[in-house]
Amino acid sequence: MDKNLQDIEDLFKEALENGEEQLPPRVWNNIEHVLDKDSLVNIKKKYNSLKKLAALLLFLLISFSIYELSKNHDTGSKKEGDVTAKDEMLKSANDKMTVEKRHNNLKKQFDPGRGPNTINKNTGSKNYFSVLANQEKVMSKNSSDVKTTRIFHNNYEDKINLKKFGTVKDEPMLNAKDDRQIDIQLQYSGYLNLPNEKISKIRLDSIKLRSPLALIKLVSSADTKKAQEKNKKLKDRKTSPFSATIFFSPDLASYHLEDDKDDNQPDDASTFHKKETHDLSSTSGALIDYKLNKRWSLQSGITFSNTNITLHPKTIYAQVDNTGNIKYRINASSGYGFVLPSFSINPNVGDSLYVFTSTHDLQYIGIPLAIKYNTIKGNFNFNAFAGTSLNFLIKSTIETLVEKGTDNEVEVLNKLRGLKRIYFSALAGIGMEYGLNRKFALVFSPTIRFALNSINKNAPVKSYPNSFGLSAGIKMGL
C-alpha cells in the first residue's frame, strides 16, 4: 500500500481541518426561534419566582394576622372601654383620697411600726403596698389589655391568671409555700364589668386580706355572667390591623413623550401625539392594608393594568432589522416591531406599505406600596395616600391590518422591541370608605399614577405613561 494511504488520517486532516461552509438562513431562524422560547421560559421562571415570593409574603402576612388575632383574642379588646375605665378609675381614686394618701394609710396599716419614709418602692419592698402601687399603674395606663400585678409575698409563688373574673390557673400551686413573689395577671377589661364599689374593694379591701387567694376569691365573686356578656361584646369589637381590598378602576390613560436623540427614526414625540389615541384602560387588583395606628396605615398588594392605544393609519417602511433581514418596521410610542407580510417576501430597504388602524395593547403587573392617612367620621373613613409601584411588563402587542390591494392581511406583533421589562411609577389619591358593617366597607378612590422612569429604551421616543382612575371596590377586615 502506498505510504500516503498508510497515513491516510493525516491526509484527511490536512484537507478538511480548516474548512468553512456557508449555512442556509433557516438555521439561524430556527436558533432564534429556540432562543425566543428560552426567553419566554426565563420570564415564566422569573414570574414563578415572584409568585413564590408573593405566596411566601402572603403566608407570612396570614401567619402574622392569625398571631395578632389570637393575641387580641387572649387579651380582649380595650379600645372603647379604655376611656371609660380610665375615667372610672380616676373618679374612684378622686372620690375618697389621693393615691398618695392611700399609700400612707396602707403603710400605716400593714407596717405600723415603720414610718412612711422607710418604704422603698423602687426596690420592690415585700409588702402589700406594692399591690396598690401597681394597680394604680394599671388604672392610669392603657397600654395593654392585661396587666400584671406583682404581689411580693413571702409564702407563695406562682403566676395566677385572673382572666374572665377569677379563672385561676395552677391553683394548687398557690398553696405551695415559697419565699418568692407572686404575679397576678388582671384582665383590665374585667374591672369594667364590676360596680364601682367593687373596684374600690379590689383595690383597697383585697389588699387588707393578707393572701392573694383572698383577692382571687373576691374577684371571682363578681357577677361573672353579666361580665362575660359584656366581655363578649367587647371582644367582638376588636379589629385586626389587616384588611384586604379588591378593586377595579377604569382609567383615563395618557403619556408624556420625549424625543430619543439616540434613535434615528423619523417619528418623534409630536408625530405620536397626533397619530396615537388612548382608549379606555383599566387597573384592577387586590390590596392589603396594615394599620400602623389610628391614623396611618401601609398599603400593598398586586395590581393588573391594561393600557389600550389606537395607532392611526400610516405608511411603514422596510428597514434592516436586528438580525440583518429586511422587514417593515412599525413604530409606536412605547416600542417598535417588524412585520413581513406573506405577499411581500423580499422587500428592499425603503419599500413602503400602508397599514390601517392598529391596536396597541400593554399589560403590566404592579406591586404598589403606599402610605395612607385615615380620618374616621362615623361610618365613613376618608383617606389620602401616596406611594410607588414596581411594574412588570407581561404583554405588549400590536395588531394591524396591512393593505394588499383588495385583500388585506392581519399582522400581529406579540413582542415589541424597545420596551423595558420593569418600570417604576408613583401613585397618589384620596379615598372614601363607607362601612357596611364591622367586616365590610365600600371603597371609592380617585387615583393618579405616573411613571417615574420611561417604559422604553432605544425606541423612537421615551414614553412616560400616566393615568387617572376612579377605583371602586370592597374592603374586608381580616
Binding site: M1, Q6, E9, S39
Partner: protein, 183 residues
C-alpha cells in the same frame, strides 16, 4: 484578553443582535466541523443549530481562560455525539473484509481528489467509525478519552479507528480508479 469579550457579554445579556453577530462569525467554521461528524448537510445543519443553542445557553459558563473558538468547537462536537447517541446506537454494520482492496501507486492521492469528495468519504463511514475517526484525527483525543466519551472500551475505540482507516484507504483507492465503494 479574549477578543470577543464584549460580544460574549452582550450575548450573555441575550442581546439578539450580538447573538446573530457571534453566529455569523463562527457558524461557517462550525458547520465545516459538523459536516465531518454527520452523514449529510441536513444532519450537520441540525447539529449546528443544536450546538449554537447550547452555546448561547451556556455562554455564562465560559471562563475566558482558553480559546473561545475552541470552546464553541467542543460544544459542537458534543452536540454531534449527542445527536447520534439519541438517534441510534453507534454500532458499525459493515464487513471490512468484503471491501475491495486494491493498491495504488500514486504519490499525490489527496491532491487528485477534491475536498468535497474527501468529506463525503468521511460522511459515508459508519457512525461509530466516523465519530472515533473524527475525535482521534481532528480533535486529537486519545483512545482512552474517546472510549470514555463514547462509553465504549478503549479496545473498541482502537478497533473502530483501524477499521475506519481501512475503509477510507480502500475508498480512496477506488475513487482514484473512479470506482464506487461497494458498502
Amino acid at each position: 484578553m479574549e477578543p470577543y469579550t464584549q460580544l460574549i457579554h452582550a450575548c450573555i445579556n441575550r442581546d439578539r443582535y450580538s447573538q446573530n453577530m457571534l453566529y455569523k462569525l463562527f457558524a461557517p467554521k462550525m458547520f465545516s466541523v459538523c459536516l465531518r461528524y454527520s452523514k449529510n448537510r441536513e444532519e450537520a445543519e441540525e447539529i449546528v443549530q443544536e450546538g449554537f443553542v447550547q452555546v448561547f445557553r451556556s455562554l455564562h459558563n465560559f471562563k475566558f481562560a482558553g480559546s473561545f473558538e475552541g470552546w464553541i468547537r467542543k460544544i459542537m462536537v458534543y452536540a454531534a455525539i449527542q445527536y447520534y447517541r439519541s438517534k441510534s446506537k453507534m454500532h458499525p454494520v459493515i464487513n471490512i473484509d468484503s471491501l475491495n482492496t486494491e493498491e495504488t501507486g500514486s504519490e499525490n492521492i489527496i491532491a487528485q481528489l477534491g475536498k468535497k469528495e474527501l468529506l463525503k468519504m468521511v460522511q459515508q463511514l459508519p457512525t461509530a467509525y466516523r465519530m472515533v475517526f473524527n475525535l482521534y484525527v481532528f480533535e486529537g483525543m486519545k483512545h482512552r478519552e474517546i472510549a470514555s466519551l463514547l462509553n465504549i472500551s478503549e479496545g473498541t475505540s482502537k478497533s473502530n479507528f483501524f477499521d475506519a482507516k481501512k475503509i477510507l484507504q480502500r475508498v480512496v483507492t477506488n475513487s482514484l480508479k473512479i470506482a464506487k465503494p461497494n458498502y
